[in-house]
Structure formats: structure tokens, C-alpha cells
Amino acid sequence: MAVNWAQVIFNSAVTGSLYLIGAVGLTLTYGLSKFPNFAHAELITLGAFVGYFVTEQLGLGWPLALLVAFISSGLLGFLCCCGIFQPLARRGSSIIHLMVASIALGFIFRHSIGAIWTWKPLYFTGTGSAFDFGPLRITHLWLWLIFAALALSLAMHLFMMYTKMGKAIRASSSNPGLAQASGIDVDRVIRVTWFIGAGLAAVAGVFRGADTQIWPMTGWDIILPIFAVAILGGIGNFYGAIVSAFIIGLAENVGVVGLMALGVSTTYRIGIAFLILIVTLIVKPQGLAMLFRRA
């Protein structure tokens, strides 16, 4: 069987872009609040459904769909942070309690979505058609996805390096005590980060939903690779996440080719992310972060 390697590379870029947009929020909130937010999956799902609501049920355009999805998931993330996680942390809850709370919130959101939009898969209609470019099969959606990931990387880079808030996020993530002592309102920084992170999760959800289908498990279906991206990239490390998102995208797409060559079911593609996740945790839990440490 001849493998179209150009297509594999292109698909890797598409997958990596999706994972990057989805994982940025997770890795930043994980780094600041010091626990993994399992409800991140449902923030992705909510974004997909809000996007569906705006484009299909209200019949409005894509830019507005992305904006509304960003704001609604962002607000939800913000509210979870102020209403539940920060009070819990103030009461001295252990990390296990915080994780359980995030799982509980995930279930609340998932089943609320299920109750509103039912558990039947829904499809976006206006996702554009595919066309051939040389040996590649491309859809407009994929090009937009890659563009969104590039724009996000650039915007986040500028934000993290040159704005006060970005610097505050980095400072609070690496040393909360010192940041607080230097006059940074760490709690506020955490709340802002939750808003941005949850909003970006929603953007990933809209793209994922438009590319495949949406149902209340949309986010949960890709939560493993997204966790793998956050951990391989080094928790709280945005630059690590960029690299690891594309590593995992590539590993998955090359892995699928390998799985097909071996005659194994391609549903195992998610297993590749799991393997990377486990190996990273065992061998180097700090992930790729050390590549981006400044002297």
C-alpha cells in the first residue's frame, strides 16, 4: 500500500493545531491552579454546541459563532474558578478534592448539554467542501484551523512576553509566593487565565465539531491527547505545548499509518497519545519544559 506522506504530514499539522488550541487552556490553568481540570473536556464540548447553536440554529456566521463560543465557555470557566475551585483551595482542599470537583463539574456540564441538545450526534452543514492541491486533499476548514493555531501561537507569544498580564501569568505560574510578594494579585491572574483558557477550549470545540460531529462526549473523546500535549509540553508551559501538540499530531497520524500496515484497528490512535503520556510521566514528568528554560 502506497502511503501519501504529504497527506500524513498535512493531517499531522491539522491534528496538532486542534490539540494546541484545545490544550493551551488546560496547561495554563494546570500550571497556575496546580491541579488538572478534567472539566476542560466539557468546556470544549460546550464550545462546540454553542458554535452549532449560533451557526445552525440561529443561522449566523462563523466569526460570530467562534466569538460567542469563546465568551460563553470563558465565562463558565471563570465562574467555576471563582465559585468552586478558588473557595475550595482557600479551604485547604487537597489536590485530590480539586480533581474530584473538576470531574463533578464535568459531569454536570456534560449532562446539562445532553439534556438540552440530546445525545444524538449533530452535524455542522456549512463546513465547506474539500479540494485537491497537488497530492493533498484539503478542506477550507482545515486551512482555517491551521491559520487559527498559527494566529493563536503568535498572539499568545506577544501576550505572554510583552503585556503585563502575560508576564504576571508566567510569574504566578513559576513562583506564586514571590509573585504575590511582588504585588501581583495572583487570584485575579488565575481568574483571567481561566477565562482565556476556557474560551480557547471552546474554539477548539467549534473546529472539532465542524470537522467531525458533536455530541455531549465531543470533548471527552479528545481529552487524552490534550492531556498528553499539556504534560509532554511541560505543565504551564505554552511554548512546550506548541511543540508537543505537533509531536503528538505527527505521532498519531504516522501511528495510524502503522496501525493500518499492521492490520490493527485504527481506533487505537488514541492509544498512541496514551503511550506518550505514560512514557513522559515516567521518564521526564517535567516534559519538554526544560527546552524553553531561560538561563
Binding site: V100, I103, A104, L105, F227, I278
Partner: protein, 322 residues
């Protein structure tokens, strides 16, 4: 359905999930491990039982094998995972459970893949009614529950259990006192997995079938609710939690059968009832975490011989003094 059967059914489920929540209590309540992949070991026990029972081996061997295979997997996952921080351990075990479900789902030769296979009852009597069947299952499940309960209760009050609690409270201090934390945690995970495996086996033989859809992460979450609501570190508490959660869950299912008698649109309610139930569970757990993190029953005090002697001695001294 016959109303008595609802009750018997509920009792069986309370027993099965009582075993699982006891096992999580051992891991989380006593040893402080965040096992977010309970369902993985439940699944391993269930599939081991399902596959072995097809070969015609007596059911008690199948049950023991389920316990052993789950324990081995518990040990295997503990080897790399226990050196990790609590959050990494949680992610790794959760991912393990998801992958395991993926495997049984895609491998058709192994117990029918997505469609599953039927599983024979452990004990079946020719021509027995459903009620008798349920009663036999109650006997079997509660026998296992009793054995595990006694073992964990003894363990919790023994020096071994005290070492475990010490590791939960302060790993470093316990290590300084010469307690090997990795060993204790691995053993807790192994025992907990064995118990979860037995529960999984009992579950599939009671339900007569095994399919990947029975092992959603939801199971892990309900078991966590049972433990956290009931009271981590208290074996009576987690059984109470298991009973409460199961009563709510089964109650909702029964409600579904009777919903047409209610003066609301039945199709809509039927559709959203299970969603509402899970939303309620989620809200319940957040309320517990925010306002009663110790659960309904507080962690049981350690009862040991030395403590009793000390108490008697103090009382004797007081009596002499007065």
C-alpha cells in the same frame, strides 16, 4: 416489573457497589491514592470472569481468578505510577481505564467487542423464578462483601493500617519512620484492585452480559461519590454512601417506568431524567466537598489492643484516686 424484585435488585447493586466503594476506601480513604481508574479494574475482573466462565470452570475459581488477574494489573500499573505525584497518578490511571475500554471495544474476538457476550449466572437453579435468582445473588454478593469488610476493618485497625494512614497524612514523615511508602501504596492498590475485580465479576454474572458500554468513566465517578459522601476512612460510611447513591440511581430507573402517571410530558422527562440524575450527583459532590469534606460519617478512630489497655489503665487509676 414485580415490586419485590425492584427491592431485591437494589439490594444486589448496593452489595456490589459496596465492595467497590470499600476497595476505593482502602486506596483513597486509608492510603490516600487518587485512583481515578477504578472502572479499569472492575472491567478486568468482569472480562476475566466472562471469558473463564465460558470454559465451564466452576464459578468460585472464576471469581478467584478475577481477583488475581485484577490484582496483577493493579500491581503492574502501580510499578510505574506510584512514583508519580497524586495528579499524575490520577491522569495515568484514568487514561489506563479509557484505553482498556477501547481495547475490549475494538477486539471482536475478545468477548464480542462492542456487542459483548452473555455471561452465565454463577449459581443457577433449573426453573428458579427471578426472585429466587435475585436471592441467590444476594447471598453470594453479601458473602463476598462480608469477607472484604471484615478484612478491611481488621486491616484499618492493625499496625499495617496505621502505617498506611501515616503515609497518607505525611509521606516523608512516614518514610523517616521506616515505612516504605511505595510498598504500602502498591499493596493498597493491589488489594483494592482485587476487590474491584471480584465486584466486576459479580456484576456481569448478575446482569448476564458484558459489554464495553458498561464500563464508562461514570462508574469510577459514582464510586467516588459513594466514598466521599459516606466518609473516606470509614468503612461503615462508604457502605452508607453506596446504599444512598444506589437508592437514588435505581430509584430514578424505577421512576422512569412510572413516569407516564405523572402530569408532565413523559417523553421529555424520560429523556432528561438520567441526565438530571447525574447533574444532581455532580452538585451533591460539590456541596459535600465545599461544606462537609469529611463526609457523612467521620473517619473511624483506630481501635487497637494497646489503646484499650491504656484506656482501662487510665480509668483504673482514676477510680483508685477518687
Amino acid at each position: 416489573m414485580d415490586p419485590l424484585l425492584y427491592v431485591l435488585d437494589l439490594i444486589v447493586f448496593i452489595g456490589i457497589f459496596g465492595i467497590v466503594s470499600l476497595s476505593l476506601n482502602l486506596e483513597f480513604g486509608f492510603a490516600g491514592l487518587a485512583n481515578f481508574g477504578k472502572v479499569a479494574f472492575f472491567l478486568i475482573g468482569a472480562y476475566t470472569y466472562a471469558l473463564l466462565s465460558q470454559t465451564g470452570i466452576p464459578f468460585y475459581f472464576c471469581l478467584i481468578a478475577s481477583a488475581l488477574v485484577s490484582a496483577v494489573f493493579g500491581l503492574l500499573i502501580s510499578l510505574p505510577a506510584l512514583r508519580l505525584r497524586a495528579d499524575y497518578l490520577a491522569i495515568a490511571i484514568l487514561a489506563f481505564g479509557e484505553i482498556l475500554r477501547l481495547i475490549v471495544k475494538s477486539e471482536d474476538w475478545l468477548a464480542g467487542g462492542d456487542w459483548g457476550v452473555t455471561v452465565a449466572r454463577a449459581i443457577s437453579i433449573e426453573g428458579a423464578s427471578h426472585r429466587v435468582d435475585a436471592l441467590i445473588n444476594i447471598g453470594l454478593v453479601y458473602f463476598c462483601l462480608l469477607v472484604f469488610f471484615v478484612v478491611i476493618q481488621l486491616l484499618a485497625n492493625s499496625p499495617y493500617g496505621r502505617a498506611m494512614r501515616a503515609i497518607r497524612e505525611d509521606e516523608l514523615a512516614a518514610e523517616v519512620m521506616g515505612k516504605d511508602r511505595t510498598k504500602f501504596k502498591a499493596q493498597a492498590l493491589m488489594m483494592g484492585s482485587a476487590m474491584a475485580g471480584v465486584a466486576g465479576a459479580l456484576y456481569v454474572q448478575y446482569l448476564h452480559c458484558v459489554l464495553p458500554g458498561m464500563f464508562m468513566p461514570m462508574i469510577t465517578f459514582t464510586v467516588w461519590i459513594m466514598v466521599l459522601v459516606g466518609g473516606p476512612g470509614n468503612n461503615w460510611g462508604v457502605l452508607l454512601g453506596a446504599a444512598l447513591v444506589q437508592i437514588i440511581e435505581r430509584g430514578t430507573n424505577i421512576l422512569k417506568d412510572y413516569i407516564r402517571f405523572l402530569p408532565v410530558d413523559p417523553t421529555l422527562l424520560e429523556r432528561i431524567l438520567s441526565d438530571l440524575q447525574y447533574i444532581a450527583f455532580g452538585i451533591l459532590i460539590i456541596i459535600v466537598l465545599l461544606w462537609r469534606p469529611q463526609g457523612l460519617l467521620k473517619e473511624s478512630k483506630i481501635r487497637s489492643k494497646v489503646q484499650r489497655l491504656a484506656y482501662d489503665g487510665r480509668r483504673a487509676a482514676k477510680n483508685k484516686g477518687s
